[in-house]
């Protein structure tokens, strides 16, 4: 028999679910490096992935307060005097506006415009959206990103920052979009990390502060006590440490051969219950 063509599956279902999905407003955008799947079996697994080493990390953005879609519409065309026929989907870019303007976040987004990411979305009902790739775990939606927004308030607008996501293949997205219920409150477990440095308040004072690298916010009061208590596991180059609440500083004696204390990686910090920061490198 000669080789024959077999049609790919094109079943046509028009029924509805006994348990309809209530598609709610988007609350969270999570990116992973392209090809890296999100761990979402539990909140703890998701939080662990948000603090993993770069490459296998999940990047949680601050809370989303608005979503707008641009494009992604079916295109039709005709040949001669024939009927209109479907001819693909127009390119689509979604704009996710975050809760407030942050100059450092815009900078980081801009630095990564050439990077390929996979995107997951979480709505207010803690439904997770991704792509059904035939496995039990959702794949991310391939996208690239760029920033937009206003640095300062205008006459009618507040300062704002949006991350725009450009769908690499919007038709593939529409064909394979799927949703799973997370079963936990995602916002409690999704983190983006802020790089921090340890800065001595005065030379040889032995008093150190935890300072955010961008914007130089003093994070000592938030993290100092936890860092001191877990100094054995989360700090390098330290022989003893305590948190001085009055001075809002870590009192540190250096270990042998060390010239400065150093924070360990975000994964180690998270293991000690210190979330949301990593050492600036």
């Amino acid at each position: 028999m000669s080789r024959i063509r077999t049609c790919t599956s094109n079943h046509f279902f028009t029924g509805k679910s006994v348990c309809e999905i209530d598609y709610d407003k988007i609350k969270l955008v999570i990116l992973t490096n392209h090809g890296v799947k999100l761990s979402y079996n539990s909140g703890e697994a998701l939080r662990t992935m948000c603090h993993a080493a770069v490459g296998g990390r999940a990047y949680g953005f601050p809370q989303i307060v608005n979503w707008e879609v641009n494009g992604g519409e079916a295109q039709t065309s005709q040949v001669g005097y024939g009927p209109n026929t479907y001819n693909g989907v127009s390119a689509r870019t979604d704009t996710f506006t975050m809760d407030m303007f942050r100059h450092y976040l815009r900078s980081v987004i801009l630095k990564n415009v050439d990077e390929e990411f996979d995107m997951y979305l979480v709505d207010y009902k803690n439904n997770l959206y991704g792509l059904n790739d035939g496995t039990d775990t959702l794949a991310g939606i391939p996208v690239t990103i760029y920033p937009s927004g206003n640095d300062h308030p205008g006459a009618s607008d507040k300062a704002s920052l949006a991350v725009n996501v450009v769908y690499t293949d919007v038709e593939d997205y529409m064909l394979n979009l799927d949703v799973v219920p997370l079963g936990f409150t995602a916002v409690n477990y999704v983190y983006g990390l802020m790089p921090v440095t340890l800065v001595e308040t005065a030379a040889s004072s032995g008093k150190w502060k935890v300072i955010e690298f961008y914007g130089k916010g003093d994070a000592t009061a938030k993290y100092g006590s936890l860092l001191a208590t877990n100094a054995s596991t989360v700090l390098d180059g330290v022989s003893a440490c305590t948190y001085d609440a009055e001075a809002n500083a870590l009192t540190i004696t250096l270990g042998s051969g060390a010239t400065a204390p150093a924070l360990k990686a975000a994964s180690v910090l998270a293991g000690a219950g210190i979330y949301g920061i990593e050492p600036y490198a």
Partner: protein
């Protein structure tokens, strides 16, 4: 090891002699107590960590 609110990194302390340990820490921690009390506390910490008597 946490002793009176101060976390001592065991591996680092073990690298030090008792004299160096006490000298390094004496005027850093528990400054609300007199020097002799601090010296005794540090000696106690060192012995607990190193097992030396």
């Amino acid at each position: 090891m946490i002793y009176e609110g101060v976390t001592f990194v065991v591996d680092e302390v073990k690298k030090m002699s008792e004299k160096d340990f006490v000298k390094t820490m004496l005027n850093v921690f528990w400054l609300d107590r007199d020097k002799e009390t601090r010296r005794k506390m540090l000696a106690d910490v060192y012995r607990r960590i190193t097992g030396k008597k």
